[in-house]
């Protein structure tokens, strides 16, 4: 087990390095230049080529690529992601402003989705091919098929049209004012949670159906156990492994921010920060955010792998 953990940990290094290099290069391949954009803006100012060159130099864009990459990587090792080229503030500082919101949204939406998905997924599996199953399937396919931003805009419009009420425009952390926080966050949480629930419900349903056909379940029925005991004690536990993996990776994905949902609900989160940074060619910010998202995926995968290894000794020797 120890060698397995060591091996997995070692594997993280090339994975993260690869991710870092890829992100770095992709950003440099894109046309456009932050120095020009800083001078540009929406009025089309006059640009002095000398000032432009000075700006490039100040931002370090005149250095060869490998030097820029090296400098950045060395910073990352010390958890210093540089300063935003656009705002001139440290990336970590900018990120910390936005992280609580995205974390709250990710965690709450995942929680909502689990609370909805597992019971309904179970119900659909147990009552396969009855009206209950059909309703659950239709609603969950709806969640997969309807884009989140549309559900979001619909939420806002319906509230405004029917109740003359709109969600607050400013994020209040839950520890400052839980009520104000809830007023703002409830709709994004429901919107994101619905989509997540759709995915998880379908996964719960299909794995549970598979497990319910296993021999030991037949044995449990044959022993004369009640339905509740068979489903919850015997089947559910064994069907949860893939579901938990799915929830884990989805959570990692959500923590990277939800660009569209955050834009629709005026949430000042990580996702919107990323999209703004891309359009400003703010290299350090984009690199930091993608790198951190990649890291959180790697971390979640590691945890999942380790959990699997713990449960299933065969995996370790692969």
């Amino acid at each position: 087990m120890r060698t397995y953990i060591a091996k997995r940990l070692l594997l993280i290094v090339p994975t993260l390095f690869g991710a870092a290099a890829l992100v770095f290069l992709i950003m440099r391949v894109l046309p456009g230049d932050v120095a020009l954009l800083i001078f540009g803006g929406d009025a089309g100012g006059h640009i002095d080529p000398k000032q432009l060159a000075a700006m490039r130099e100040r931002l370090g864009l005149d250095q060869p690529l490998w030097v820029q990459f090296g400098t950045w990587l060395w910073g990352v090792l010390r958890f210093d992601f540089g300063t935003s080229l656009w705002t001139g503030r440290p990336v970590v500082e900018e990120l910390l402003i936005r992280l609580p919101l995205s974390l709250e949204l990710a965690l709450a939406a995942t929680m909502v989705s689990v609370i909805i998905a597992i019971p309904f997924g179970m119900l659909a599996a147990i009552r396969q091919d009855t009206w209950v199953d059909y309703v659950v399937r239709v609603v969950s396919i709806g969640g997969l098929a309807i884009p989140g931003f549309w559900v979001g805009i619909l939420c806002i419009l319906l509230l405004v049209i029917f109740f003359g009420w709109g969600p607050p425009l400013e994020f209040t952390p839950p520890w400052v004012n839980p009520w104000a926080n809830l007023q703002m966050m409830i709709w994004p949480i429901v919107t994101v949670g619905y989509r997540q629930a759709a995915v998880t419900t379908r996964m719960t349903r299909s794995t549970l159906l598979e497990v319910l056909r296993e021999d030991y379940i037949r044995t449990a029925w044959a022993k004369g156990l009640r339905e509740r005991a068979v489903v919850i004690r015997h089947a559910l536990k064994n069907s949860m492994l893939p579901v938990i993996t799915l929830i884990g990776t989805e959570l990692a994905f959500l923590m990277g921010g939800l660009v569209v949902t955050e834009t629709v609900f005026t949430l000042n989160g990580v996702g919107r920060f990323l999209i703004d940074a891309v359009s400003h060619r703010d290299y350090p910010v984009v690199q930091a955010l993608i790198f951190l998202t990649a890291s959180s995926f790697v971390l979640v995968n590691l945890l999942v792998d380790l959990t699997y290894a713990w449960f299933d000794p065969r995996i370790r020797y692969r």
Binding site: P31, F39, G164, G166, T266, R272
Partner: protein, 535 residues
């Protein structure tokens, strides 16, 4: 519950006012006594990249920080484009036009308590006109006539010019040129990118990047009894529909920039008399640049054909409700002192009203240039729907009628700037110009040789000469003549295809009083005269 209460209050108020005074004019500038207090809530479509207006070009920076600062002169908040003093109380221009002397108001204090003196004004303008290394000054070129700025005594500022400049006075009223205290600039010329020390009607209160910006009343403001408001707060939302919803639900009471007419109608339908819409023309022109370093746009006949085939008058009718583009005009905004008369304009290629004739002429020119069956071309654009893409879609189908097949290629802002302005890797590209006032220098420099905003890369010594002469022409009628002559050369040679002039629709709740929308979203953002009739 709340909407009814508000409605009732508004009705009561309307009845009361109705019985006392004549109906208020559109903008709500009634003869009512201003009320003190309240926080003005506003929605804004972008966040500021930095807080230093000297270094930024976006309205986001301007709207957020304008209330915190003063400038030397200002455009009258209640009557654009009249210029009045702000920090300057009186001024004198020498007869040769080479010396501008400003007397400053006494007793102005910055928010840190230190007095505002001539040295601060000098330091500010030195930063703008002669920026130190590592500091950008985006509007520096507008002040190229300035040789030096001097502060002979604490209440006198003197601008010495290299040559007489017709635009300098109005450019000194630029809302972008806010006055900074010298001592902070000495320490760090970039200090104000992330800090605020102004002398304006409001003091900085709080800023959450990407979310909100707040200012609070400055009790020591140099104009007694101003401002009326206790403060203001901007909510950042990049989604137009969200800002519209915020207005409809009363989470925000004003959106300063502009709203598409469809949203305006929806808001008006829900809120009725509770909202006021101020519709104004705008100092913004959208058009098409043709890259004149590549074929076929080196040929004047091809360029003329493209401008001839574009039916501007129909475009104005079609695009107005969609994209707020409406007015047909030359290179200076129609109906201003600088604009050509309509009769003059209609003689120029593409501005005649007989479209059959225009198209026939366009086809003839194309055939003469060797393209009897038209040609294929790529039209690059910015991937913003209003008004860029709507405009492009219209133009493309107009060109199809003369056989020119343009492929529409919308680009993200960064790539659009890079291809259009920086590297000239385009054939045709949509671009626009937006300025804080109708000043010929601001609008026409882009047609001169080598100007960074001359995306079409054309060069005509006559234009360069006329530009230099008009900027020095102190007699307005002589200047107008030169400006119109320059315009005619650009339009007759079809160096650039001007499209349509933009319009602005500012939607606000009726309780927001005394805000008069100027024809752009840069000026009149100081809010010192704005008040709320209720909270």
């Amino acid at each position: 519950m709340r909407p009814y209460r508000t409605l009732f209050t508004v009705l009561a108020l309307v009845a009361l006012i109705g019985s006392l005074v004549a109906p208020a004019p559109v903008a709500g500038q009634a003869t009512q006594t201003p009320r003190r207090g309240g926080i003005l809530l506003a929605a804004i479509g972008a966040d500021a990249p930095s807080l230093d207006p000297h270094q930024e070009t976006t309205f986001a920076t301007m709207e957020m920080v304008a209330p915190l600062y003063s400038s030397l002169l200002q455009i009258d908040p209640l009557s654009y484009p009249k210029i009045i003093g702000d920090v300057a109380i009186e001024w004198k221009i020498s007869p040769d036009g080479l010396t501008y002397t400003f007397k400053l108001r006494q007793g102005i204090r910055f928010h840190d308590g230190s007095p505002l003196t001539a040295t601060d004004v000098k330091a500010t303008y030195d930063k703008i006109v002669f920026p130190p290394e590592g500091v950008r000054s985006v509007r520096k070129n507008a002040y190229s006539a300035i040789a030096s700025v001097e502060a002979p005594d604490p209440s006198t500022v003197v601008f010495k010019l290299k040559f007489p400049s017709a635009s300098l006075f109005s450019n000194l009223a630029s809302p972008w040129n806010v006055i900074y205290p010298k001592k902070y600039l000495d320490k760090d010329p970039n200090y104000f990118k992330s800090n605020v020390v102004g002398s304006g009607p409001f003091k900085f209160k709080n800023y959450t990047r990407g979310s909100t910006f707040e200012g609070e009343r400055n009790p020591d403001y140099f104009i007694k009894d101003r401002p009326y408001l206790d403060g203001y707060k901007f909510y950042v939302s990049t989604e137009t529909s969200v800002r519209a919803a915020a207005l409809r639900s009363g989470r925000a009471w004003i959106e300063f920039r502009t709203m598409p007419l469809a949203e305006v109608d929806a808001i008006r339908k829900t809120l009725g008399d509770k909202v006021v819409v101020q519709e104004t023309p705008a100092t913004g022109l959208f058009g098409i640049a043709m890259n004149q370093t590549v074929k076929p746009f080196t040929d004047v006949r091809v360029r003329k054909a493209l401008t001839l085939a574009f039916d501007r008058y129909t475009a104005g009718r079609v695009l107005y409700p969609l994209a707020s583009l409406r007015d047909v005009g030359g290179l200076m905004r129609p109906a201003t002192e600088w604009a050509m008369s309509e009769a003059e304009l209609q003689k120029l290629p593409g501005f005649g009203k007989d479209m059959e004739k225009n198209r026939a002429e366009a086809k003839r020119l194309l055939a003469e240039a060797g393209y009897p069956n038209g040609f294929k071309v790529v039209l690059k654009n910015r991937n913003i729907k209003i008004p860029y893409q709507d405009f492009a879609v219209f133009v493309i189908q107009e060109w199809r009628k003369i056989g020119v097949e343009a492929e529409h290629r919308p680009l993200e802002t960064a790539a659009w700037f890079a291809d259009g302005r920086d590297t000239a890797s385009f054939e045709l590209i949509i671009n626009g110009t937006f300025n804080y006032m109708d000043d010929p220098d601001l609008f026409l420099e882009r047609y001169t040789t080598g100007d960074p905003n001359n995306w079409g890369r054309f060069s005509d010594p006559r234009i360069d000469d006329l530009f230099a002469r008009q900027t020095r022409a102190l007699d307005p009628s002589e200047r107008k003549r030169l400006v119109n002559e320059l315009e005619k050369i650009v339009l007759e040679n079809a160096y650039h295809i001007p499209g349509l002039w933009w319009r602005r629709a500012v939607v606000h709740w009726a309780k927001v009083k005394n805000y008069v929308a100027p024809p752009n979203h840069y000026s009149n953002q100081k809010l010192q005269d704005v008040w709320l009739s209720e909270d």
